[in-house]
Subunit: 197 residues, 2 copies
């Protein structure tokens, strides 16, 4: 009967692995890396996550849950949709500012090497993410706070998510955090203005 607070080993493994994947990718980390960082053995990790794909699936599920929770918080914290859009981009900025990529953006680049369970959960992450942004744009339209091109909101949402994911990706090789902020500002200048303005 261990007296350890509450964060079990499984959670610690997920924490360490998440950081690693956001830096070097799912195919770029090994059980030995995580074991070394946590001071445990690879066999111990296999006890909690029998196969690497099991760990991968849990990683995406947890990341998606947290991300969606953050989106709900944004929705309740700000009544103004323009502020909501800015807060949304801040989620991405925090990631790149810590020298990481979006977990799902990273894994999307590795998509072809992943098994079906992981692929399905990645698809779900982007679907839910885009869906939320689309709803945000709808509300912004009603409020008269956000503008978007003639196309439907789903396409505009796709464009926003794509731009933020791409800006993080490109920033690694060129531009860094400043580059990300520059691209984000251009996007906000395009969407964040009164309809018809």
């Amino acid at each position: 009967m261990q007296a350890r607070p509450k964060t079990g080993t499984a959670e610690l493994i997920l924490d360490a692995t998440e950081r690693r994947v956001q830096s070097v990718g799912y195919n770029g980390f090994s059980y030995a890396d995580i074991a070394g960082e946590l001071g445990i053995t690879t066999a111990s990790i296999h006890y909690h996550f029998p196969a690497k794909a099991d760990l991968g699936v849990r990683l995406i599920e947890r990341y998606t849950q947290r991300f969606l929770a953050a989106l709900s918080e944004i929705e309740t914290a700000h009544p103004c949709t323009l502020e909501q859009l800015k807060s949304y981009t801040a989620l991405y900025e925090d990631v790149i500012a810590n020298d990481r990529l979006c977990l799902c953006g990273m894994m999307a680049s590795e998509f072809e090497t992943l098994d079906e369970p992981m692929r399905a959960r990645l698809t779900e992450f982007f679907e839910r993410n885009e869906e939320w942004v689309a709803h945000l744009l709808e509300r912004g339209k009603e409020q008269g706070m956000l503008a978007y091109p003639g196309a439907d909101v789903r396409k505009a949402a796709n464009a926003i998510v794509s731009m933020l994911e791409g800006a993080m990706l490109v920033a690694r090789a060129h531009g860094g955090v400043a580059g990300f902020r520059a691209a984000r500002d251009v996007m906000l200048a395009g969407f964040g203005r009164p309809v018809g303005g």
Copy 2:
């Protein structure tokens, strides 16, 4: 004295590897993969490219050369800057339509795992790419064919490149080619219109 046309083994290796990297990444392919596809041995590949990083460097250099050559062609083929911008996005569309990612976008996701020579060449690819787009936007401004947010053209160029790279990345996991086109159209709707229109 082989009668083979002109494409030497080194070039065939680069061709096969390029395709492979654009699909599964630099860390996702092995010499054995390429050797198997070409019907040669891994030792033969090592003759032409002693270390994997040598192959990686040549890959980026060749890709960059071809990409920049395509940009020059676009510049001479169309006098209209709006058409030039559309042709530029078509370069990306061709890639995703063939189920690949931009070679450098893929490698940007693996940036942290790469050695300095490869990193430097990736940085150069994005620098030159962004520079070309920035000049395109300048010309478009003079022509009155392209609009862009108040920010300077470099930032707008960064945003365009980021959006296209991100749209390809996201398309793999969600949306496919149609998703890419949707995001691209939103971007074109934002930039491709007369200034002040």
